[in-house]
């Protein structure tokens, strides 16, 4: 349970939107910084900020990565 709470990924960061669900997300923080905004759902950077509400991105990205 504790591990789950500590999970920090692009897929539960407040800057993310779906891009290629569930594997890739679009990061508006990176976009405005002039960086490639399309990143892996299961990646994260030092600017990670908690999303206001949880989505299924991480759960589904993990399922997908296990099945491939």
């Amino acid at each position: 349970m504790k591990d789950k709470e500590n999970e920090k990924y692009c897929g539960n960061c407040s800057y993310h939107n779906a891009y290629e669900y569930p594997s890739k997300v679009f990061c508006t923080y990176r976009l405005v910084k002039g960086l490639n905004p399309v990143v892996s759902t299961l990646w994260r950077c030092e600017n990670w900020t908690p999303a206001m509400d949880k989505c299924f991105c991480i759960e589904d990205a993990k399922k997908q990565s296990r099945s491939t």
Partner: protein, 336 residues
């Protein structure tokens, strides 16, 4: 009036037959002349009159999510066949046109659904239509690219919303796109509330990425004289309103400002007048403002536009035939 003046035309009962065409059914509705059937048949008659009137400029007002629901090609065809001369739209309908133009989709869904589940899957709902968030995001990505290109091209010049719409259309290659067709046919799409949609989000991101002086500049007041000029130069003006809202009032207000009034009016809405909101206001109410002429050919069809509007268009296309040709109105289109 005498008593017999009220009892001149009996209701003729609707007679159906196999393989009826759309217009044959509408003609039967006309025979009935009653309730929604009568109004729908009257709307077809009025639209036909507008199109056959050599001096009439036709304005289409679009509010409500009719593009995601399936009216995209109907509107594109009307532009390409010159069956409308100008569009006044919510920005959102053009957003949804754009989404499809770059390969996105709207999906058949259901109104009875767990919306929180959709939220967790990044899916947006428009009544019974589902739109994946990534299709919006990919549109945003393109908008940001296009906004920068347009801003660079026009530098400090402010664009009116119809110029902005043409600039977007110029950059799309989908022939089924409303924006693309409008650009090719030089039909203006005015979006008086352009920022009230995804354009606003894309603009916010764009504004974070460039210096303030390098942002796209749009001025919806700039087109006011251009729009009024259309009414002034037209012998007669006709409007077809889907929904109402800002697009309807933009058209009606221009008619007043031009001191012209509207000669033909079709409004398709499900709204009611008691709230005082424009979308449900009766065409009789508009007479008090001088927006629609007292003697205008006018009808309000109470119904859902995605169901009603294609029937009107199909019926009128059938009446006009394949070879019907109509020039741009007013002659020469818009003047800057």
């Amino acid at each position: 009036m005498r008593r017999e003046d009220f009892l001149t035309e009996p209701v003729k009962h609707i007679k159906l037959k196999p393989k009826m065409t759309v217009n044959e059914l509408i003609n039967q509705y006309n025979m009935s002349g009653s309730f929604g059937a009568g109004r729908l048949a009257t709307a077809c008659d009025i639209y036909e009159k507008m199109l056959r009137d050599d001096g009439c400029t036709i304005y289409l007002g679009l509010a409500g999510a009719v593009v995601p629901a399936g009216l995209r090609m109907v509107i594109t065809d009307l532009i390409r066949k010159r069956m409308i001369d100008a569009i006044v739209s919510t920005g959102a309908n053009m957003i949804h046109d754009f989404i499809e133009a770059i390969g996105g989709h709207h999906y058949k869904g259901h109104w009875f659904v767990d919306d929180y589940l959709l939220y967790k899957y990044h899916i947006y709902r428009i009544y019974d239509i589902f739109v994946p968030e990534e299709d919006f995001i990919k549109a945003d990505e393109k908008f940001i690219q296009f906004f920068r290109e347009i801003a660079t091209e026009f530098k400090d010049r402010y664009l009116a919303t119809h110029e902005f719409a043409w600039e977007l259309g110029k950059r799309l290659d989908d022939p089924n796109s409303i924006l693309r067709a409008a650009y090719e046919m030089k039909v203006p799409i005015f979006m008086p509330a352009a920022r009230d949609c995804e354009f606003s989000y894309a603009f916010y991101l764009h504004s974070q990425m460039v210096k303030p002086e390098e942002t796209l500049k749009i001025d919806s007041f700039k087109e006011v004289p251009v729009f009024i000029d259309l009414f002034r130069r037209s012998e007669r003006n006709g409007m077809i309103i889907i929904g109402g809202g800002v697009p309807r009032n933009t058209i009606q207000h221009a008619a007043v400002t031009a001191r012209k009034g509207i000669d033909y009016a079709i409004v398709i809405t499900m709204d009611r007048p008691e709230t005082g909101g424009l979308s449900g206001s009766t065409l009789e109410e508009t007479i008090s403002w001088g927006k629609v002429k007292r003697e205008a050919n006018k009808v309000m069809v109470t119904g859902e536009a995605v169901m009603i509007f294609p029937i009107i268009v199909a019926s009128v296309m059938e009446r006009l035939g394949e070879n019907f040709y109509r020039e741009q109105h007013p002659k020469g289109g818009i003047r800057e």
